[in-house]
Symmetry: C2
Subunit: 445 residues, 2 copies
Amino acid sequence: MEHMSQAARTRPRVVIIGSGFGGLFAARALGRADVDVSLIARTGHHLFQPLLYQVATGILSPGEIAPATREVLSRQRNTQVILGEVGDIDLDRRIVTASTLGRTHRHGYDHLIVAAGTDQSWFGNPQFAEFAPGLKSIDDALELRGRIFGAFELAELAAAQGRHEDVARLMTFVVVGGGATGVEMAGQLAELSRRTLRREFRHIDPATSRVVLVDVAPAVLGAFHPHLQESSRVALERIGIEVRLSTAVIGVDADGLDLEGPDGERTRVEAVTKVWAAGVAANPLARHLADQVGLRVDRQGRIPVEADLTLPGHPEVHVIGDMIALDNLPGVAQVAIQGARHAAAEIRRTHRGEPTGRAFRYHDKGSMATISRFRAITQMGRIRLTGFIAWLAWLAVHLVYIIGFKSQVTTLLHWMVSFVGRGRSERTVTEQQVFARRALERSRR
Amino acid sequence: MEHMSQAARTRPRVVIIGSGFGGLFAARALGRADVDVSLIARTGHHLFQPLLYQVATGILSPGEIAPATREVLSRQRNTQVILGEVGDIDLDRRIVTASTLGRTHRHGYDHLIVAAGTDQSWFGNPQFAEFAPGLKSIDDALELRGRIFGAFELAELAAAQGRHEDVARLMTFVVVGGGATGVEMAGQLAELSRRTLRREFRHIDPATSRVVLVDVAPAVLGAFHPHLQESSRVALERIGIEVRLSTAVIGVDADGLDLEGPDGERTRVEAVTKVWAAGVAANPLARHLADQVGLRVDRQGRIPVEADLTLPGHPEVHVIGDMIALDNLPGVAQVAIQGARHAAAEIRRTHRGEPTGRAFRYHDKGSMATISRFRAITQMGRIRLTGFIAWLAWLAVHLVYIIGFKSQVTTLLHWMVSFVGRGRSERTVTEQQVFARRALERSRR
């Protein structure tokens, strides 16, 4: 890329790492700035992570929540998109090194925005990952789709052959983690088994599936007001989900989980399909940067930054989104989006000769989570909504934030099919979901 | 499944193998018959194969052309769907043995309908498959999607680094096979590079991509009238596709193909991305059946059947669709659909005590193929259409045959986006497309 930058050497070069909410909105915010933008990301698509659980449960297609980054940014003539995984950031020489299928490329920068996000974390138990995959990427979602629908197929077969223990194990779904992702995933598993699949099997009744939601905290949806936490728990239980709070996961294997309850009692849940929605850790680039400036990352691998989101001693480097440890900011899209706009504004100010170094101020626009169809919770400042009204708010906000008109239209349609009707349009499982196949093979069934 | 069939032992048991056009329509045609139907298939979805190329080129999502078989048949209370691959058919004992993730299950039948279709064939060169994948399954389509969009990503990188030979190789796409699938695939590759990707890259101009269509026959679209063949060839060349006829593929590797032209001259085409749309061979169950009744399969592995589509000596076994060698029937959906209805009608007649053994009569409803957006060819008896009118006919017929209202609506929308606009809604490539990644890695680039 050295090659490319020669032509435009006079314009400041901004390199952005990541194509999530932070990276994409940073690129957009610089669309009309007099700079050359290079966005480097390890996938070719932006990802609307809050709806991943709907890809996993067959409501949406990957394309609806993962538009090609290149297409989204195609009208910004000052922006190039580069597929590659960043392995090194040389803060002294101001060079980012990335690689694409084994080929290395280097990108010099005048400004760097690091928005590499987080990966799933199994809290020091990486061996859990094989049995309880996370939900952070399109691959994760399709993997879980394969496991979920595969489990019902195998349960039908087991029932026809009279293997009742196997049926129970195949029809038990455990979601670890009671945050928004875990709650929404559990809710959709309940909907899937109670409504969508109702008439489709002959030997099992999918409505008898067991859905268990486990969290080590004493309440679900920790980011919400206690009233909303409690009403959510009640709503989850009302649709048949077993909510196990103050409960730690101490073991996960092909056939189930070992749990430790509030009084230290240990129980075993036999379940072929497990979903890990419990924790995240910052992308390793956070530590890579921290090491270079003599800082320490926190327990979740996040890097402390200055109040203006720059790396200490490096006003030309902004770190935004989930990767940073600052003022206990939550790991939500709005923190990344607002951080992106803040960093872009600072860069524009630098080149207009205006003073920079303004502190980042996060405006909490509120939080929301769906429990099930027609039922959600929403919290905006002091306004707290539950039930149908909250669900309408959820619907509106998510439709607006999905990138691109065509995805908004098909998504609305798929939601109608799924919420008003009971079908799921995107259930296709491929052979390439080899890990799903292996996971099911390894379980007793 | 022995277990299950006891309850309904008094009703005749019909086992159907396959969930393609033949299997699905056979099950539907028996929906109200007084029989128990078991449909066994190795995928959980029906597949609308004629539109696979649109999944490969990012227009449609898998869910739109591959609805869950279980969902399509959910209202037929007499029908069960079983996921499994059939390994053995015992004609004497009338038992089908299938396996699902290593677990074996057996299904007794009174009637058997074998509709297992065809697999891709590389004409005795299985080593070509790795470099030039076929287009017969959702996996194939997603694999090709990964290779096609990946090739453009790598070309952009190669161009930025000044590796011009690599750019040319990455931006050359070769389709082997000039039947409907090959022609439609080549047409869409041209559209993709000329229209969809036009403004998305900074170092390459996708419109300069080379699309080559190769066939060993002297004309494209062998099933059509020579006038339509010639007008199609002209239309393909007009949108910039190199059509190489009377040309055999004698070698395929990671970086290109070796061809032998009409006068025996050999040429090499450097191309990272190759698509094999050249030939098919019947599912091995055809030979398995043939061996048991002392018959021989033909060159494409198809089994000769009686005029009423039954296996010689076995009036209880119908073989339908692409697997049979009978009267030079073409390998198209209508042959399978009409064969399915014929077999179902014969089975119903058997149990009403009516005479059976009627000869299958195929009614050619016509053939069609799209060349590009707004341009197709259609042939119905003596009526031959080209251009926009033919394309409208193509649009109408394909919309009608896509299973399910919701898929029809989203598909229409995706077509509007793609034909009226220039976008593609379903470009998402996953990490699970490991073979695509490996193929690109192995090429020089």
